[in-house]
């Protein structure tokens, strides 16, 4: 069990109130915010300002690995047990394109999922508070902060219409 992270957790019914709170907290130096929502939201994404996910690197590397593996496997196996039919090449690229394509998709898809899991774990939410309403209809914001900053952070949340504000840790 991860140790609880100290900070303030707020729940919002209205998206614009949550966005205003995110902007104000970021302006006052609270950049390590965690925002919970039931569905992906472009406005929250823009307010937080994350760079584009690096999942695409996993997809690219996985796809290229699959394609290379497809080529290497078919060609090597053909020469390992050569079947000479009608004077045609032992290893022939056109029919092997199908295997290369399938493995590109297969390894590309599996590495994409691996990337999603690895990248999500890297910036884990463990120790950070969560409320079940955030997967239903509320937006949650957790601002990690020291005890002496908690009052100011709570005030920002309340000003922007938070329906519930709790101190954590």
């Amino acid at each position: 069990m991860a140790a609880p992270v100290p900070g303030v957790l707020a729940a919002f019914d209205h998206i614009d109130g949550a966005l205003d709170a995110i902007h104000e907290l970021k302006a006052s130096g609270h950049t390590d915010l965690t925002v919970y929502s039931a569905a992906p939201n472009h406005e929250i994404e823009a307010a937080i300002g994350h760079p584009v996910s690096r999942v695409r690197l996993f997809t690219l590397i996985g796809g290229l690995t699959g394609c290379t593996a497809g080529y290497a496997m078919t060609t090597w196996m053909s020469y390992d047990w050569p079947l000479l039919v009608g004077g045609k090449p032992i290893a022939s690229i056109p029919p092997y394109v199908v295997i290369m394509f399938e493995l590109t998709i297969l390894i590309g898809a599996l590495s994409t999922v691996a990337g999603m899991i690895i990248l999500s774990i890297r910036r884990s939410v463990r120790g950070k508070p969560f409320h079940p309403r955030f997967s239903d209809d509320q937006v949650g914001i957790f601002a990690p902060c020291a005890a002496h900053q908690a009052d100011a952070v709570s005030r920002v949340f309340t000003t922007h219409g938070a329906v519930e504000v709790t101190r954590e840790g």
Partner: protein, 450 residues
Amino acid sequence: MTAITQPGPPLTQTHAEVTRDVVATLGTPSRGYYLALFGAVGMFLVGLGTFVMLLKDGLGLAGYVHPVMWLVYITTFVFWVGIGHAGTLISAILYLFRSPWRTAVYRSTEAMTVFAVMTAGLFPIIHIGRQWIFYWLLPYPNQRMLWPNFKSPLIWDVFAIGTYLTVSTTFLVVGLVPDIAAVRDKVSGWRKKVYAMCSLGWTGSDNQWRHYTRGYLYLAALATPLVLSVHSVVSWDFAMSIVPGWHGTIFAPYFVAGAIYSGIGMVLTLLVPLRKVLKLEHMITEYHFDNLAKLTLLTGSILFYAYLMEYFVGWYSANTFEQTTFFRRAFGPQWWAGWSMIICNAFVSQLLWFRKIRTNLTALFVISIFINVGMWFERYVIIASSLSNDYIPYAWAQANPTWADWGILVGSFGWFLMYFLLFARTFPIVAIQEIKEMIPMPRRKRGGAH
């Protein structure tokens, strides 16, 4: 007559109502559900019994007669692979096109895909006769270092179907994770513990969504060419040979269009009763059925064109064997199968030009049954008619399916429906988070929606 009256997508609901309504589908099942499940298990047991007999006595029980050594099992294999295609079309291709109507129906179609491909995967194994050595199809290091022939379309198929099953299952599971988390936060007791384990610690944090949305986009981008390739590869099982009626260059697009057509037929067959049993009438509406019917009409018309082209090319080839094959499809001993295919697929789908039919549930359900029957017959006609009369007329023979063929066919429907029904009661059959994404969150101030 069950005319659907609710217009448009369900944008009037709140986020909380969406969660409530979908979680309600996971409550105590109705009597109708148990009856359907009981029927499915019964059908599966028929198939299982037949399979045990096949293991004991061999493939001689099936209707194979030389030279017709592919019959009902390969027909049914192609049928189930085709069924799977509509799911990936709706979940991946329409996702890339940002088509709004897919959200309410894509989860059920995606589940249908996974279970249909699972069903399809059984058939080559049943068909090979010595089922216990099916793994010889895979390239694994063995005593003699003997490898598969990668120039054979049958080996391409092993890779295509394996990849399709893995990727479509992955796509389904990834899409389910946020929804399982939503269910986890609504239920209690042991169910909460199970859903908590399945949700993989999902909280819907900004960081999780950031990687999730990107990853999902790339999965959709990978699944899109895959769905088009899988049935092309299946079609090459036939088109790469020189059997009359098989070696046509139109086979890949012809099979892909037919696959999507049959898949949407099955989606309609499943969704019409499912929305009633699970009380999802306000979520899966006229809007969704109308769009599914339009897609059926499009793919059905492509198929109609392919049928015409197939006959035209057969005649224009001036090849006696090719011409004879197509003549026998329409007027040979199994003319009823040939005409069932043409009437059920090419003609019945044309009824969907009428909006009144597209939005009438009873009519759609009946048409969908015709599509399922017609598409099974299409594969049967392609396989049985071509093999029964090839280039050596004295070897021609007419194969007739036996109880062992029909038993396995019935069992496959039971196997498929059993998994689908269990899934529908265990996991959200409507994508909670994607529907919520379409409903703007409430605002204190007016305007400024994204």
